[in-house]
């Protein structure tokens, strides 16, 4: 049992994506997951014994209730200064409008979320989109990874390379990703337990250590104060870096007692990759935990709930929401202890004008016991500004 809560993390993000538009799909999905509402649609269950097949399984699984493609990573500008980025595409089958035989009915909904962490200014730029799969504007192809929403897209080519194209309000980026290792199948051959009940599971695989190359541009809407970010007053710059890719789909959500979770995915400098998470209840207790370590030699280790530990090193209070986040954490798994330090403190996404989802998603450096830099990745902290399920 490894990456239990990934799904929960995404579910929560789903709500965050929806919230800025004053309207949310995330919450009812959560409600459905918690068994609070009966679904009129029979969603397929996640079962073991059905091996993942690529590139087919890079593509969408529209029968399942929810699915996401998720890329986070560190970028380096030409002067070696870092940037953090995040691109997420969600697909949701909310179980409504299934009976109306019209192409435009909202049977499938795509959400997308993109963010850029700017260390010099301590700012996080972010933007989100949502659309139904209709009018030829939003799609989630089934043959391979091919999700798009207006002019945002995440598409894989025949050679297994993929590109993210984002046109946000304040920034744009076109990033190409080249996976360097085979997919890491999380949990039991890609079936990942999500909670105490065996039915709480998802199909989940990761592509760590993905090479990134591309171009990032800051738009005028981001403000003139940011013009030096790309050096010599340039607004656009070529970047290179290392990313972490997740793809996960399922029909059933996690335990209803969970209020939030902590998650981290770290690309280790020696070529290894660490993923850890814990699900917290209202009292801060751990409901479920898990993770995996892929070593540079290619061997993999999955962690049981009792083998993963998070220790808060430093908290930071958001000036916007007043929420306290443990932005500096120590994660411990058998044989490895990492101190995670944020690229910048303020990587909070405040999306309260809507359903009120607030979370922290940020680039972190991972240091060893001696303080040496062992890796870089992303930390996700949710449920710190009230219960996510609102």
């Amino acid at each position: 049992m490894n990456a239990l809560a990934r799904r929960a993390r995404r579910r929560w993000l789903l709500r965050a994506v929806a919230s800025p538009i004053g309207w949310s799909v995330g919450a009812p999905l959560a409600g459905l997951a918690a068994g609070e509402a009966a679904a009129a649609v029979a969603y397929p269950a996640v079962r073991t014994g059905e091996p993942l097949v690529f590139p087919r399984d890079h593509g969408a699984h529209p029968d399942y209730r929810t699915e996401w493609w998720y890329v986070t990573g560190w970028l380096e500008r030409s002067d070696h200064r870092p940037l953090g980025f995040q691109v997420t595409f969600f697909r949701s089958r909310p179980g409504i409008a299934e009976d109306l035989p019209v192409a435009s009915a909202a049977r499938q909904i795509i959400f997308a979320h993109a963010a850029l962490s700017l260390p010099e200014h301590g700012r996080l730029l972010h933007d989100q989109r949502a659309a139904r799969v209709a009018f030829g504007l939003a799609r989630a192809g089934e043959a391979t990874m091919d999700v798009a929403l207006d002019d945002w897209s995440l598409v894989m080519d025949a050679r297994g390379r993929f590109t993210a194209r984002i046109r946000a309000r304040e920034f744009r980026f076109d990033l190409s990703f080249v996976p360097r290792i085979a997919p890491v199948l999380q949990g039991e051959e890609g079936v990942s337990r999500k909670g105490p009940r065996p039915s709480q599971a998802s199909y989940y695989y990761s592509l760590p250590q993905v090479s990134v190359q591309g171009r990032v541009e800051l738009l005028a809407a981001a403000g003139n104060g940011l013009s030096d970010l790309m050096g010599q007053g340039k607004r656009a710059q070529s970047v290179t870096g290392r990313a972490w890719f997740d793809h996960e789909w399922s029909s059933e959500y996690m335990a209803p007692s969970v209020v939030g979770w902590d998650w981290a995915g770290i690309n280790l400098r020696d070529g290894g990759a660490l993923m850890v998470f814990r699900m917290r209840d209202a009292d801060g207790g751990v409901v479920w935990a898990g993770g995996s370590l892929r070593r540079s030699d290619g061997t993999e280790q999955q962690f049981e709930p009792g083998e993963v530990r998070f220790v808060t090193l430093r908290t930071w209070q958001s000036p916007r929401t007043g929420a306290w986040f443990p932005v500096q954490m120590q994660v411990e798994v058998p044989g490895l202890t990492l101190a995670l330090r944020p690229l910048i403190d303020d990587q909070e996404l405040d999306a309260r004008h809507g359903v009120g989802a607030v979370y922290w998603e940020g680039a972190v450096r991972a240091h060893g016991r001696t303080g040496s830099l062992l890796g870089q990745g992303y930390l996700e902290l949710t449920g710190y500004a009230g219960r996510l399920q609102m």
Partner: protein, 885 residues
């Protein structure tokens, strides 16, 4: 200053001022204070002088009342129009929210792939697709107008169309295909509550049950509509894969105009991008001519009021000539006398105008309640504005009322002030005062001007030339009235000379002939009122008769199907045609297309029509010549061009004539048609084009129809037909032709309710003016009457004489008014209506109403004259004869 009031027998109270006091002012202090003091003094003087109206309370009251009526009506119409249009435009732009541009196409919509093409255009920040529609609630029959939106896209452009569900947990409500958000006013009409369900039939006749999940609250303009998911709207309207509208937001730094230019290349034929404001005003433009005409009529009411004030003032001044002469002799300066009189009339005007303001807001509220914001014309359905106080318009109408009163008093007062005291003191000099008004050239000039202004072309769709012509004609007629009366009396004298007429008749005519100008001046108000009443009656009657004839022509079948956005598939069409009770059926598809940006859409009626004999179905007013109209002749290229028949509006607005070619955007492509004829259409002011249904189907591939005209089979009864169509259920109520006609005429009458109210006001003014005029006539003649009595004329003779004089005067006024009114009516029908609404009609005189009007006025004149003459002749024999002259 010393003011003494004397009261002599037979002499009106007089205000006399002490000369030294005026001297003090005259010597006076220059500067503001001095002027202020002088002003106050004049005001007091004017107030004191108001006492002079004591003997003419009725006349004063009538003058004030009519003035109030004029101001009230004018302002009420202005207010109702203003708030209705503001509300209408606000509603239109609320629907489009923060959109910079709205893309609209024909009523049948456009392909939804256009959305993807627009979203990918540079400069587009957000795009929100909308499907508009309206279906009837099964239970209550109430029409539910809805906007079908994609909530996920609408939030960025029209957040008002993405309301929250009442159940906060139902966050998917906006995407549910079985959910509907309803505006509070609509909810009230539906008699439902949030949480209830409503059943709507989609175009295919399937019932769709929707749960009312929330209110469209907070936006008054949305109070009468509903919001559903776009997929639901597409199903309800049978518009799968099609959109009615796309609202666009431009990226920062891109102007709507730039965006519009950038999009022009992508938009299919017949689909246009416009700013929501421009669109709203385009839609409001449809009613603009109607509103302008109403406003002009209201101004005319104000004009009549001021004429009445004028005649009241004039009579008053004339009667008090000798008093003025005394005042002048006592040292009141000419300018002061004039100022006093003008101030006085301003006071009277202010009272009248103030009453008018109160009346206006009351009337406006009432009109909104009874007739609605469009004053019954049906332009702004679903708009429920509230009357708000508006300072500028209130002030301007108040000013117009005061101005009219001052204008009415100025000329007589000027004349009175100018008259040397010595002459003014002499009795009988009354007629001199009217000398300038007897001049003939101003009236003639105005009449010539009236004719000339008919040549002025309409501006912005408003018939300014027509209005100008009516104004000049009216003023010219009024100015020439004294001359006309003189001529009339002269003619009468000559005619009666030939007969052996009685002494009473001879006396009556002789008296009138002696001094006709005085009464003639007060006649002006009657003439104006009669002209207007006649003109409006003529116009409305012509329209109504033409409208009835048009209805007969346009509704040849025995029954019709086609309410509530009916859609009949080909199979259903065949099923109807196969009914045994149906002798003949003709189908029609109604669509709307946009020929030009910035113009309201034009209705396309694609119907089963015989291209060789279109006149059997359409009231044609022009047709292409026969040689051109040979069916199938390859006159234009190799393939024959289909025929189209355009309504008069389309022909005039688009400058089209029979035989010409026109491109009509159908199915996203321009399709070429040849105009075979022009037909009269009172139903769609923005214009309509009839084409053969086969041409529509060929161009769009859409063979669904929205209307059916049914003829019973021989021997079949209506009940059979009704039974045969039962399977349609409540999708399409079957309407008998007579029912439709009655309904249409009821709408017509509602539309003209305000016009009839104005006719009533004009007639009231005419009658009031007549009564006042006769009272003045009697008063002016009282000394002569007493002399006649002394000479032995019996009371009855004197009364008859006055009655005869009244009849002569009113006949002259009626004759003048009828002539002028007919001319104005002609201008209304042939110029104003044509230029405003682009429709023609035949002139039809409302003989009955005209006869009633003239008869009433003649009778009233004689009765008033007789009774008035009797009263005066009886009471004043002694007193008047003893009056010191």
């Amino acid at each position: 200053m010393v003011v003494r009031r004397q009261r002599n027998d037979g002499v009106r109270p007089v205000a006399v001022t002490d000369r030294s006091a005026w001297g003090w002012i005259g010597a006076g202090i220059r500067g503001v204070w001095g002027w202020l003091a002088a002003g106050m003094r004049l005001l007091r003087l004017a107030c004191l002088d108001l006492v002079a109206w004591r003997g003419a309370k009725m006349r004063l009251a009538v003058a004030i009342g009519v003035l109030a009526l004029g101001v009230g009506l004018g302002l009420a119409i202005e207010r109702v129009n203003a708030v209705a249009v503001a509300e209408f435009e606000a509603g239109m732009s609320t629907l489009s929210g923060e959109a910079d541009l709205s893309v609209r196409g024909p009523r049948s919509g456009f392909d939804d792939t256009l959305l993807a093409r627009l979203v990918s255009r540079p400069g587009v920040a957000a795009a929100s697709p909308v499907v508009e529609g309206s279906r009837n609630d099964l239970a209550s029959g109430v029409a539910v107008s809805f906007q079908g939106v994609d909530a996920l896209r609408a939030v960025a452009v029209q957040p008002a169309l993405v309301p929250r569900a009442a159940d906060a947990d139902d966050r998917l409500a906006n995407l549910r295909t079985d959910a509907i958000f309803v505006g509070p006013r609509l909810l009230e009409r539906l008699e439902r509550q949030v949480g209830d369900r409503i059943e709507l039939l989609d175009v295919a006749g399937r019932m769709r049950s929707l749960e009312i999940v929330g209110l469209l609250s907070g936006v008054p303009a949305l109070a009468g509509v509903a919001v559903v998911d776009i997929a639901t709207a597409q199903v309800l309207e049978g518009m799968e894969g099609r959109l009615s509208r796309i609202d666009l937001r431009a990226q920062p730094g891109v102007s709507p105009a730039q965006l519009r230019t950038a999009l022009a290349a992508v938009l299919p034929s017949g689909v246009q991008a416009d700013t929501p404001d421009a669109h709203a005003s385009t839609e409001a433009q449809v009613s603009r001519a109607y509103r302008a005409n109403l406003s002009v009529l209201a101004l005319v009411a104000l004009f009549c009021g001021s004429l009445l004030v004028f005649s009241a003032q004039a009579l008053q001044v004339a009667r008090r000539r000798s008093q003025f002469a005394v005042l002048r002799a006592l040292g009141l300066k000419r300018r002061e006398l004039l100022a006093q009189q003008v101030l006085q009339s301003a006071l009277i005007g202010a009272v009248g105008a103030a009453l008018g303001l109160a009346l206006a807001y009351g009337l406006a509220a009432l009109a909104l309640l009874v007739l609605g914001g469009d004053l019954g014309a049906g332009f702004f359905r679903g708009v429920a504005p509230e009357i708000t106080f508006d300072l500028p318009s209130s002030l301007s109408y108040f000013g117009a009322g005061v101005g009219a009163s001052i204008a009415g008093a100025f000329l007589p007062s000027l004349e009175a002030a100018r008259t040397p005291p010595a002459r003014g003191l002499r009795p009988g000099g009354l007629e001199q005062a009217w000398q300038p008004l007897g001049r003939i050239w101003p009236g003639l000039l105005l009449l010539i001007l009236s004719g000339a202004s008919l040549a002025v072309p309409p501006r912005d769709g408003l018939p300014v030339g027509g209005y100008l012509a009516i104004a000049c004609l009216l003023l010219g007629t009024v100015a020439l009235t004294p001359r006309f009366l003189k001529l009339f009396v002269f003619a009468l004298v000559h005619v009666t000379r030939a007969w052996r007429s009685s002494a009473v008749i001879k006396l009556a005519l002789a008296q009138l002939r002696g001094a006709p100008t005085g009464p003639a001046v007060s006649l002006a108000a009657i003439v104006a009122a009669v002209s207007l009443a006649v003109a409006m009656m003529l116009m409305v009657n012509s329209f109504r008769v033409s409208f009835e004839a048009w209805l007969l022509h346009i509704l040849p079948a025995e029954a019709y199907l086609g309410e509530g956005g009916l859609r009949l598939s080909v199979a259903e069409q065949q099923r109807i045609a196969a009914l045994r009770s149906v002798g003949r059926v003709e189908f029609m598809r109604i669509d709307e297309v946009r020929l030009n940006a910035g113009r309201p859409p034009v209705t396309v009626l694609a119907r089963d029509i015989d291209p060789v004999d279109p006149g059997a179905r359409l009231p044609l007013v022009a047709r292409a010549s026969e040689d051109v109209a040979v069916e199938g002749a390859p006159l234009f290229g190799d393939s024959p061009v289909a025929k189209a028949w355009v309504s008069e509006s389309v022909a005039e607005i688009e400058q089209l004539s029979p035989g010409q070619l026109v491109d009509i955007p159908l199915g996203g492509h321009p399709v070429r048609f040849r105009i075979d004829g022009i037909w009269r259409d009172y139903g769609r002011q923005q214009g309509a084009i009839v084409i053969a249904r086969s041409a529509y189907v060929a161009a769009t591939g859409d063979s669904v129809v929205s209307n059916a005209a049914l003829w019973l089979a021989p021997g079949a009864r209506f009940a059979d037909l009704r039974a045969g169509l039962r399977w349609l259920g409540s999708r399409a109520p079957l309407r008998e032709t007579g029912e439709i006609r009655r309904f249409s005429l009821a709408i017509f009458d509602r539309t003209f309710a305000v016009t009839w109210a104005l006719v009533a006001v004009a007639v009231t003014i005419g009658l009031a003016a007549l009564a006042g005029n006769l009272a003045a006539l009697v008063l002016a003649r009282r000394r002569e009457l007493s002399v006649l009595r002394h000479l032995g004329l019996r009371l009855g003779d004197v009364s008859w004489m006055i009655a005869l004089q009244a009849l002569v005067i009113v006949t002259a006024a009626l004759a003048t008014g009828l002539c002028a009114g007919s001319l104005i009516g002609l201008i209304l029908v042939e110029v104003v209506n044509r230029q405003s609404f682009h429709w023609s009609m035949e002139m039809h005189a409302p003989w009955g109403s005209l006869l009633a009007l003239t008869g009433t006025m003649c009778l009233l004149a004689m009765v008033t004259g007789y009774l008035g003459g009797r009263g005066v002749a009886r009471a004043e024999v002694v007193r008047a004869a003893s009056e010191d002259w």
